[in-house]
């Protein structure tokens, strides 16, 4: 059924279809209304879940871990400082191999205090052991809510999954969304079954200490589990397409990249505008293309290098900066290019921090700059005269 929903509402619809047993959340800013919607669904009986109000984001994820350790499906959501406050627990959840799904609304981090969209919150947590996906629109948000459980709970993966939605631009924007039926969802998503749980009939030690001799092997296994998500993502998308008729493209989404001379790599909701500007440039005879990163972990090194292997120059546009270095997405991409022996010139463009609008002209200028080579390694877009003094 088609509905006119915000990204938050679409995600809540997806979670309702995934039928989690426990939802734990701290509802105060910078939290977005996704958990408010879910609490309404629990209240009106359309979602049979235990909704647990907790006193902080740290507790929200701890509570979700407790539920997961009891062998049930758990959900939580957060944003910005809330994600940072629960950072300690992120590592517990991934190390404990609890396949919790969490929605993160990408919002800037303090100070100065700001609740607008940028991706510095989640990108600062790339090393926490979670799978990280970035949605472009409300439909993909809903679909990722369903697919995330399929992938996270897969026996070969068993890793928590963070779905990222750009704050405001996606979470608060309304658009058409096809909401599948519970029957379709049930056909897609098997019930959660695990041996990684507290079980009276099969008691085991969980959340234990491990010394230097074995700890290392646990970390190695965490790494291989995240890498094993790659074929599971493909499997999930194949099955998803069969049931819902929407086909996704794995770790990246390439547009007009095949014969492109100039490729812009980005992630999240800005990709739509980049594709539109690509069409405009192509009409003027400039062979432009776009690669949208859908997953930051597992990182699509191979997929990206394949997509840009014939390009003359590459731009990486991200709403992030690792102060004193460059954007973290760019660092990851440069590592991939180096690994593949590609020497294509690559330039980093930082934009949209603290929610600043990225305009049509900003995108056109990025392409112009990489075409002329008139760009530095790291470029802040749209800084007006006098702002940089």
């Amino acid at each position: 059924m088609e509905k006119f929903l915000s990204g938050d509402e679409a995600f809540a619809e997806g979670i309702r279809l995934a039928c989690p047993d426990v939802i734990s959340a701290y509802p105060i800013t910078p939290q977005t209304i996704v958990v408010e919607k879910l609490s309404e669904m629990v209240e009106d009986g359309s979602l049979d879940a235990e909704f647990i109000h907790v006193e902080s984001e740290h507790s929200a994820l701890s509570c979700a871990m407790g539920a997961s350790a009891a062998g049930v499906r758990a959900f939580t959501a957060t944003s910005s400082q809330g994600l940072l406050y629960m950072a300690e627990c992120l590592y517990y959840a991934s190390g404990g191999r609890f396949p919790i799904v969490m929605m993160n609304a990408n919002r800037s981090t303090a100070l100065p205090w700001n609740i607008y969209g940028d991706q510095r919150d989640s990108l600062s947590q790339l090393d926490s052991g979670w799978i990280q996906a970035y949605a472009e629109n409300a439909q993909e948000s809903l679909d990722l809510a369903l697919m995330s459980y399929y992938i996270a709970e897969h026996k070969t993966v068993s890793t928590p999954f963070m779905v990222n939605l750009d704050g405001f631009i996606l979470t608060h924007t309304y658009e058409q969304v096809d909401v599948p039926t519970p029957e379709q969802a049930e056909k897609f998503l098997p019930p959660y079954e695990t041996e990684n749980k507290l079980d009276l009939n099969n008691p085991k030690n969980m959340a234990f200490s491990a010394g230097p001799d074995t700890n290392y092997i646990f970390k190695y296994k965490e790494h291989t589990a995240v890498r094993r998500a790659v074929p599971v993502i493909q499997e999930a998308e194949r099955k998803f397409a069969e049931i819902f008729g929407r086909q996704y493209s794995g770790l990246i989404d390439a547009y007009q990249a095949e014969d492109a001379d100039y490729i812009l790599i980005t992630l999240g909701s800005i990709a739509g505008l980049c594709r539109e500007m690509t069409d405009k440039l192509r009409a003027d005879g400039i062979k432009a293309g776009v690669v949208r990163i859908r997953y930051m972990r597992p990182f699509p090194a191979e997929e990206i290098t394949k997509a840009v292997s014939r390009a003359k120059a590459v731009a990486v546009l991200e709403k992030d900066i690792s102060f004193g270095n460059e954007g973290t997405v760019f660092t990851n991409i440069c590592s991939a290019l180096h690994g593949a022996g590609l020497t294509v010139p690559a330039y980093n463009f930082i934009g949209g921090l603290g929610g600043r609008n990225i305009s049509h002209q900003d995108i056109i200028e990025i392409f112009e700059k990489i075409q002329s080579g008139n760009a530095g390694r790291v470029n802040f877009i749209g800084i007006k005269e006098g702002e940089n003094s």
Binding site: E2, F4, Y116, F168, T173, Y174, E175, G272, N357, I358
Partner: protein, 172 residues
């Protein structure tokens, strides 16, 4: 693409109108819409903006509208000459006022109609007026969207508001 910029004050329902207009348009075959508020904290009485974008294909551009086809002003104290710069060449400003206007500015006495219908705010009145002057959506489309996205107890009043405002505005 048709772009509509809504100007109001917190509590006047500018975003609700932006959303219902989007839902009404998107319910038509091969029609797509985006609706979003001016992002940020909401405060009663403070100036707020909202956006509706309408097109025959999926809308990829989520950036704020730079040039609108229609600017709808719910509170006339928010009008300033600078708004003309935010209009497309053929764009129109629809303003809730009792004073006469000319050129690209279309006056509509939304307050009187809202008072007559005992509505505390003019958002759906001005939405109806937009339907009347532009024809981007029909009254039926708006009635359907109100039925889906407004609480039951205020639906009938708002449906009447849309109906009457559209009728009055189409005569302008």
């Amino acid at each position: 693409m048709i772009e509509i910029l809504w100007l109001g004050r917190g509590g006047q329902g500018a975003f609700t109108a932006a959303k219902i207009l989007g839902a009404a348009y998107a319910s038509k075959p091969d029609c797509h819409a985006l609706a979003f508020p001016s992002f940020g904290p909401e405060r009663r009485g403070a100036p707020v903006r909202a956006f509706t974008k309408l097109d025959s294909k999926p809308i990829l551009d989520r950036s704020e509208t730079e040039h609108a086809d229609y600017i709808i002003i719910l509170d006339e104290t928010l009008y300033s000459e600078n708004l003309q710069k935010l209009l497309k060449p053929d764009g129109k400003i629809l303003i809730n006022t009792r004073s006469a206007k000319s050129g690209q500015i279309i006056p509509f006495d939304g307050d009187s109609l809202a008072k007559e219908l005992k509505l505390p705010v003019v958002n759906t009145v001005m939405m109806g007026a937009l339907a009347g002057i532009s024809g981007v959506v029909s009254v039926e489309n708006l009635h359907d969207a109100i039925a889906h996205y407004m609480p039951e107890k205020i639906r009938e009043k708002n449906k009447s508001a849309v109906q009457k405002a559209s009728q009055e505005a189409s005569a302008l």
